[in-house]
């Protein structure tokens, strides 16, 4: 029948068009040659929320990567785990990257995924008699050296007109800071979250925070060994794609995102609500990151925190290729 032939032709054309539309929607999947097993050393902090949420909501494309998370205390530990080859990717603050860049250049930062202007805090013991920053002279201050806390401590003291030499700085692991203040070992601790909240909770009202919001913007970054990146370039893109989806999810569903974080890190909901407003979850690689790291090293050299006198080439420690492929407009290095 003539009519049936035409109907068949119309059906075939429609099917072909739908097929083309389907392929257009899933074109990326065609290029995935295999699923890569990826280990990420995640710093156990709400700053790592995009990674936890991407994992929890299945936003890492299973056709491309199978992500395993290893939790560590702090970005420095995460970085070291990655360097030891125990993880493919690490989550570290720009301070860790800046200080590590003085020792090595075999790694690259592929994206900043969060920033906060209030993550590192000054927690003082009420018994120490500190009321204003100038009272810090002669006090014992515990901080995690080689991380964001150390840099923040130095600029906070400088801004307060206190010389670094006039205080006693003690190096402590991030998870040990709360205990050292509680036990009266030190007068001040400079932890990041959630250890600042933990310090306040353990002090049972004997500790308080000195106002320091907006003085320092901390960023958290995804870092990997250059060799590893060269070996698994598609995995890096897929991780960033998952983080992009997680970032969109957080913007659209902040409450659900908080709940995921509370459950995952077994955190107090009051704490998460307290810190959440300080976090800006966005993917970027910007000039300000380079300027910030340069500024930190410059300051550390001038303060004698580090011995080096050569400024590392940070632009060679940032690999914009992957983020450029996933969110091109988020790369503003030039």
């Amino acid at each position: 029948m003539k009519f049936n032939q035409h109907s068949l032709l119309a059906f075939i054309i429609l099917t072909l068009l739908l097929g083309v539309l389907f392929l257009l929607g899933n074109w990326q999947a065609i290029f995935y040659s295999k699923t890569e097993d990826i280990r990420i050393a995640v710093s156990r902090t709400p700053l790592s929320a995009p990674i936890y949420i991407a994992k929890d909501k299945g936003l890492f494309d299973p056709r491309c990567i199978d992500v395993q998370l290893t939790e560590v205390f702090g970005g420095k530990a995460s970085f070291e785990k990655m360097i030891r080859g125990e993880a493919d990717f690490a989550t570290s603050s720009e301070s860790v990257i800046a200080f590590q860049s003085l020792k090595r250049n075999d790694f690259a930062n592929i994206a900043t995924f969060v920033q906060s202007d209030n993550d590192v805090k000054f927690v003082i013991s009420k018994k120490s008699g500190i009321i204003v920053p100038q009272d810090l002279v002669g006090k014992k201050i515990a901080v995690t050296k080689g991380a964001a806390g150390e840099y923040f401590l130095s600029i906070y003291l400088a801004l307060s007109g206190v010389d670094l030499k006039n205080v006693e700085v003690i190096d402590k692991a991030p998870e040990a800071l709360a205990k050292s203040l509680q036990q009266g070992e030190v007068d001040v601790v400079v932890p990041w979250e959630p250890y600042a909240y933990e310090t306040l909770r353990l002090s049972d009202g004997d500790a308080e925070i000195l106002p320091s919001k907006n003085l320092y913007t901390l960023t958290f970054n995804l870092v990997a060994k250059k060799l590893n990146l060269a070996a698994k370039p598609q995995a890096a893109r897929c991780i960033l794609m998952g983080l992009k989806k997680a970032q969109e999810f957080i913007a659209k569903h902040p409450e659900e995102s908080r709940q995921i974080l509370i459950k995952r890190l077994r955190l107090d909901s009051n704490f998460v609500n307290w810190v959440w407003q300080d976090y800006i979850f966005k993917l970027s690689l910007s000039r300000s990151l380079v300027l910030n790291m340069e500024s930190q090293i410059e300051w550390a050299i001038s303060q004698g925190i580090v011995k080096s006198v050569v400024m590392p080439d940070f632009e060679h420690l940032i690999d914009q290729e992957y983020l450029m492929d996933v969110v091109p407009y988020a790369v503003t290095l030039n």
Partner: protein
Amino acid sequence: MLIDWTLKKRLGLFAYGNLVVVILVVLTLVYSWLKIEKALERQDYALKVQNMSFSLQRTILKEDVAHLEGAMKWETNLVSLTKILNQPPELTPAQQTLQNSLITQNKSLDILYRKLMGIASKTIGGKIENLLTKRLLVQVDMIVTDSQHLAALARNDIKKIEKRQILIILITLLCGVLILFVGAHRIGFLVSEAVYNLKQGIDSINKRQFKQLPSIHGFEELSRFIAQFNQMSSQLEKTTVTRDVLQQIVEERTAVLKQIANTDHLTQIANRVALFERGNMEFARAKKYNHSLTLLLIDCDWFKKINENYGHSIGDNLLFQLARICERQLKDEDFLARYNGAEFAILLPHSDITGGLDIAYAIKDAISENALYKEEEKIEFSVSIGLAALMKKHDSFENMLADAEAALTSAKDKGKNCIDVTSP
């Protein structure tokens, strides 16, 4: 399932369908236009923030922001930036994240600047002032980055809206064209099928074949039209007499009339006219093929007397019975006719004189066995029979008949109830 919709309804639906498609396209265009307007508004906002942050950046790089003129310029620009940031347009969730970042960066900028001013007034030292100036620069750069990011998101939104709109228009047009194609084809198919069937129907009627057209589904007017055509065809079939039928009727009627004209009313056998017609035909055939032919003439003896004694009805009945007796002795090919008054003629094709005699004796025997009664009185009657077989001398049926008459006269002269044969 096929629905018998009217053509008007189908065309109406087509028109409404197209109108809906057009309205959909217009609505999506209006929707996209509104979205693009919003995205442009966001882009403008981002550019304003970016321009102002560039001004702040220039101020840091060119002026001493901690003192006099530089400080004034900085503060003016910072107030302007804060004012712009306090009047954002409606933003998407992703853009709101950047807006939050911008507000935070701006606050940090303000706090850092105040710290810088505090240090500058106390003349603490160059190092920390230098650090703070660099921190300000970083902070401004973060604002520039965020505003660039915001503008890029707005541009991306516009691209997405454009792509989506093109896709919507393409899909709508594709669906519209498909619907039109299928619909137009369906209507065309139904109309051409109906026209084809009607043509077949009309051709059939021309050939006096009154077919019923197959019904068409899905098109009410055509269904009605076909039904009316079929009704007309049935009506015509009932009322129209074809030429063949008419011919047949005429032939039948003619045959009946001919039979009436060739039949003797009293005895219900062939009459004299029919005898001559058949006699001439059999004579000609026998002559042509050299077949034998025998003619018998039978006359009822004393018939006039029977009529007088018993009445004409008995006479008529006698003739009727005699015809039946003769009939019973004949084969299908033989021919019996009433020749004249009480005389009957029998033509026996393919029979010679012996066969004729056999029939003559058989008739006589049958007459003797079938008496006629009137009120239990037996009426005796007999017949005289004259035979003439076809001979060479005969050149017509009349000649043969004359010989048979001569033989009959001879039989009667011999005292009736006799059989006589024409001598060769």
